[in-house]
Amino acid sequence: MQFDFSEEQRALQGEVRRFFERACPVSTVRALIASDASHDAELWKQVSEQGFLAAAIPEDMGGVGAGYLELCLVAEEAGRVLAPLPAVSSIYQAAELIMIAGSHAQKQEWLPRLASGATIATIAVAEAVGEAVPETITARVSDGRLSGIKRPVSDGLAADVAIVVAQALDGIGLFLVDLSAPGVERRPLKAVDPSRKQAEIRFDGARCELLGACGEGWALLSAMRDRAAVLVAFEQIGGAQAALDMARDYALGRYAFGRPIGSFQAIKHMLADMYVSLELARSNAYYGAWALATNAPQLPLAAASARVAAIQAYKLCSANNIQTHGGMGFTWEFDCHLHYRRARYLASVLGTSPLWERKLVAAYGRAA
């Protein structure tokens, strides 16, 4: 057993970190928030040129073929700088779904374009309030035409193509839809995390193409989410670490009652608890990374544990980071709220905690 990343992987992580620190200062995140743009196209282009996000896509499909462990570390670094990129949608989810569900022709058609960043894809699942389950899906495909409303769709404006979960003759299916085609209308939605934009997409007889076996759609979605959950967990621990670092730095520099506030036990212990929850999340995420990289049968349990832990850690670290900053923490000007918002975004995509808690328990039961 060697339960850690290798030196080469750490070196890559260092390279990715330096890249993001240079290319994605927080001003770029704020610039996107202030603009109507769907994502930071310039940053997306640069990241794509580096090939960082193509780490897990095979070489014969236009990827780098490095592996999932490398992609996990890229995700961690993207999370640390709050990168305003559509990677969760296009790479962690859509590319994964095409890899597990697509025909050879579909893989050849889409993966090179996703790997190069030339095409952005997203997943459209949610419709109504509450957890999405097959029974609540009303979007419908008949005669190769999709109709229905999806809301919210992450990166729905940035995306060129969506994989839409819809009812079809044999039950739930996954359908590829060109979002620039006739019968597709989209509009931006104001959302909790304005650095990862949300959209409403209306389909009215839009032409679509089946991805994977019809009737298998929900199972495929669920299998893809186990994979994406590990990658998203790394974004979460990157963000949680950044929030903890901010809180630590502020606690050392801010004085009250003649001392740094970081010398008060209430603050010290709050930060210690943030550290503990982050360590638990990190260790669970590492196990998830191993399970993802080796396609281990433990993946469902590992992914659910990683996700439940990472949601918890990022929520705690981002909330307590605001607390540590006092009134400053509640200003728009300070960056604390960007992590608080991002923590919520990452806790909502892929389904929220209650879903993953049930998945964890079910997988634990099967493993025992």
Partner: protein
């Protein structure tokens, strides 16, 4: 990142497994499984006799202190092999409870500070289960603030004379040797006037009084010293160097590598399955949060072991183990008793659910949050040594020990 055994590790595991299969006291397996958390409970046999028998058997085959050097009774295995051994020993490791303070804390301190001759004498006896050790650190006035101890040692010729009192000494009644920290100079600052010894617990003037615990057991004790004599040769470190020696002990106490700390989570899943409540979303939510903490601890331990295998020193990061496990056990026990309904009140042997293990856990877990560094002390360690936050303000730090304010001097 590789979670599987290497071929060498697999061979080692096979060897450990085969030895356990051949030698473990199978007759005790069921009883050990149900034995509460923390303290070893056996009804069918004397627990000390059973512990000594198992320790001796392991010693003869080289499994008793696998990490120790061969000349002191160990087998010199790698950190990873040690973890594999622990996994394979499984439930039988509970039998080694009476030796855990000796093997985990006193042994490493002796190894670092005693003479070569003493090490060759004492350590194999400890590893083989011949000798049991206890830790004579805490006092009525000094627990978290260990450097505030008052038990006095005075030099008379080539002996030291000890007077004072220790408290909370686990296993003192079974112990042959004690690791004893004393004050030898009350006129200097508190960390500087301490001296460490090891003591024959059968020495004249040592009086042990059991303390009845809140969980209706008596593992810890008061230990009184009246003119107890210790040869100077049993001093560890120089006079006045006791604090440095104690740090060796405490570091080993908090290192607790191996992820073997019980949490009660697998047992809670078993209970939920028996009760048929695994599908209840409210139950699942609590279970998942518990399970995530338990697996996080386990994989954190694996990360530490991997770092250790690469030659890195174990750091204060390891403090999270006991900090997480203590509260986790307490919450798991409360939740299990919630699920048991009013029947959860029953401790009556033969009627209590699952042999009363969650009731035992409820009543033992508060101790985990106090012993060997309280939750608050551990949070301080993380805040200061991991996160680099300022140390607490210490009003007594530079005062001569005999001028430090106490409850008595404050009239309380």
């Amino acid at each position: 990142m590789n979670f599987d055994d290497t071929p060498e590790e697999a061979a080692f595991r096979a060897r450990a497994r085969a030895w356990i299969a051949e030698n473990a006291p199978r007759a005790l397996e069921a009883e050990l499984k149900l034995s509460g958390f923390g303290h070893l409970h056996l009804h069918s046999v004397d627990r000390i006799a059973a512990a000594k028998a198992w320790q001796r058997k392991k010693f003869d085959a080289g499994w008793a202190a696998p990490r120790w050097p061969k000349e002191y009774g160990g087998a010199g295995v790698s950190p990873m092999e040690y973890v594999i051994w622990q996994e394979e020993e499984g439930v039988y490791s509970k039998l080694s409870g009476p030796f855990s303070i000796g093997m985990g804390m006193c042994g490493p301190t002796v190894m670092a500070w005693a003479s070569e001759e003493q090490k060759r004498h004492l350590l194999p006896r400890l590893a083989s289960g011949e000798d049991i050790w206890c830790q004579l650190f805490s006092e009525p006035v000094a627990g978290s603030d260990l450097a505030g101890i008052r038990t006095k040692a005075e030099k008379r010729g080539d002996e030291w004379v000890i007077n004072g009192q220790k408290i909370w000494t686990s296993g003192a009644r079974d112990a042959d040797w004690g690791l004893l920290i004393t004050r030898t100079d009350p006129t200097v600052a508190k960390h500087r006037g301490l001296t460490m010894f090891f003591l024959d617990m059968k020495s004249p003037g040592v009086e042990i009084r059991p303390i009845w615990q809140m969980n209706e057991e008596s593992v810890f004790n008061e230990v009184y010293f009246t003119d107890v004599r210790i040869p100077d040769a049993q001093r560890l470190g120089a006079p006045g160097q006791g604090w440095t020696v104690a740090l060796t002990t405490l570091m080993n106490e908090r290192m607790s590598i191996g992820g073997s700390m019980p949490t009660g989570v697998p047992e809670l899943f078993e209970l939920c399955r028996e009760l048929g409540v695994l599908d209840d979303p409210a139950v699942a939510s609590r279970l998942a949060q518990f399970a995530m903490r338990a697996s996080g601890l386990r994989y954190s331990a694996f990360r530490s072991i991997s770092a250790l295998s690469r030659g890195e020193q174990p750091g204060p990061e390891n403090s999270i183990g006991k900090l997480v496990a203590g509260t986790l056990m307490q919450e798991v026990a409360q939740f299990a008793l919630d699920l048991e309904g009013e029947a959860g009140l029953i401790e009556e042997p033969g009627l209590a659910v699952d042999g009363g293990r969650f009731q035992a856990m409820l009543l033992r877990s508060p101790a985990t949050r106090i012993e060997g560094g309280s939750d608050e002390v551990l949070r301080n360690i993380i805040a200061e040594r991991v996160l680099g936050l300022p140390a607490d303000i210490r009003v007594d730090k530079d005062l001569p020990f005999n001028q430090i304010p106490t409850a008595a001097s404050a009239g309380r």
